[in-house]
């Protein structure tokens, strides 16, 4: 066979060898087939540890309770006890070291997430006390009148209903907060 056949072949073989050599250096050692097989487990194993190392920002209400036990307990007796502290107080991160104080979200927008009245008859939303944000003191912050840590004083509510002659509480029925678990 003549040179015109061998020469391009040599080049092709050299290129393949080059790719294979480069591959051994460039592909990480832990890249390969892992537990989930060739179809789903072909990856760099070290990446799993990278995902595990992401910083936890929300430390959960249980960790808040470790120091703020009094607050946690009084809150637990109210309908808002089901809400995680960090939903309003912001992620704790490494509080109290960093940040020393948390930024509390007291905005109307936050309350409206649950308390804007919506026509959603077949969801739990229908059994939460709701207001029309456009007519219910639109300029005011909710916290001016409502204490987020103690939103409903049940006795007062019952008394006002009694005075108004309402039986069986509001239209939502006796179970004002059936979602509290």
């Amino acid at each position: 066979m003549g040179n015109h056949v061998w020469r391009p072949l040599y080049i092709a073989v050299a290129l393949i060898a080059l790719v294979l050599v480069a591959r051994t250096f460039l592909v990480p050692k832990d890249f390969g087939i892992h537990e989930r097989g060739y179809m789903y487990g072909w990856h760099r194993k070290g990446n799993e540890a990278e995902w595990k190392a992401v910083t936890v920002k929300y430390r959960t209400a249980a960790s808040c309770k470790a120091c703020h036990e009094d607050k946690a307990e009084s809150l637990a007796r109210t309908p808002h006890g089901i809400i995680s502290c960090e939903n309003c107080h912001g992620p704790a991160l490494n509080h109290p070291d960093d940040p020393p104080t948390l930024t509390i979200d007291r905005s109307r927008k936050l309350c409206l997430r649950c308390h804007a009245a919506l026509t959603t008859p077949t969801s739990g939303r229908a059994s939460i006390a709701g207001i029309n944000p456009e007519t219910h003191n639109p300029e005011a912050e909710c916290t001016l009148c409502h204490d987020p840590h103690n939103p409903v004083i049940r006795e007062a509510l019952a008394k006002s209903h009694e005075e108004a002659g309402v039986h069986g509480a509001s239209e939502r029925g006796n179970e004002a907060y059936p979602l509290v678990r």
Binding site: H43, I83, N87
Partner: protein, 260 residues
Amino acid sequence: MNRRDFLKNSITVIAGLAVPLSALELISPRKLLATKGDESPVRWAFLVDTQACVGCGFCVKACKTENEIPHETNITRTWVERYVVTRKGKTYVDSPRGARDGFTTDRIDQGEEGFREVKAEEIEKAFFVPKLCNQCDNPACVQVCPVGATYQTPDGVVLVDRKHCIGCAYCIMACPYGVRSFNPAYKTAEKCTFCYHRISQGMKTACVDACPFGARKIGNLRDPDDPVTKTIMSGRVGVLKEQYGTKPQVYYLALSREVK
């Protein structure tokens, strides 16, 4: 060159060309065998109670903060959809900004068509459905990745290797649930990790912890005493788009037929 040589050489060249480059990677049978059999003691699964969801969107907010997803972009790893079904059988769905700020108005966001108002007396049913990655047992998104950047962990979570992802977006196209997006900061595919950093150290996901109503739960399918596993095994649960054969591992209680 005589005829015999010519035929011989032709066959050699054709045989050589038939060997693709990928075949040069040697797969040891031992390695393949090792992938069978030894089952991981953990298989994460998720349970969503659509009846309990009130559309507050705390889960979306917590997810975005926990996983450092740019707050002002529309991409989000989890979102909440509102379904409004009229008495005439029309279904309207919306999820403004993925419900990052919850649902605060009855107007349904129809995107370019503007807002739609449905009269209260016309509404047959209306409810909320949280969505997130289904961490499928047969993840279509993993199969299409050309560079091995997305994969399934032994405990069933599908992750993206941000160092290997080339941002080709095949996986975003392949996911039948539309849970993948493109992260503008990393220029890679973005998806729910079931908060892998939290669940792998015994915590719950950020969305589960943020949900005041217990609409979201996470559990280990390989633990028969896990309350979530019990509900999935014995309760009346549904999954999304079962017909795709992806074997999704996010189970829904009270799933309505309108939900796709």
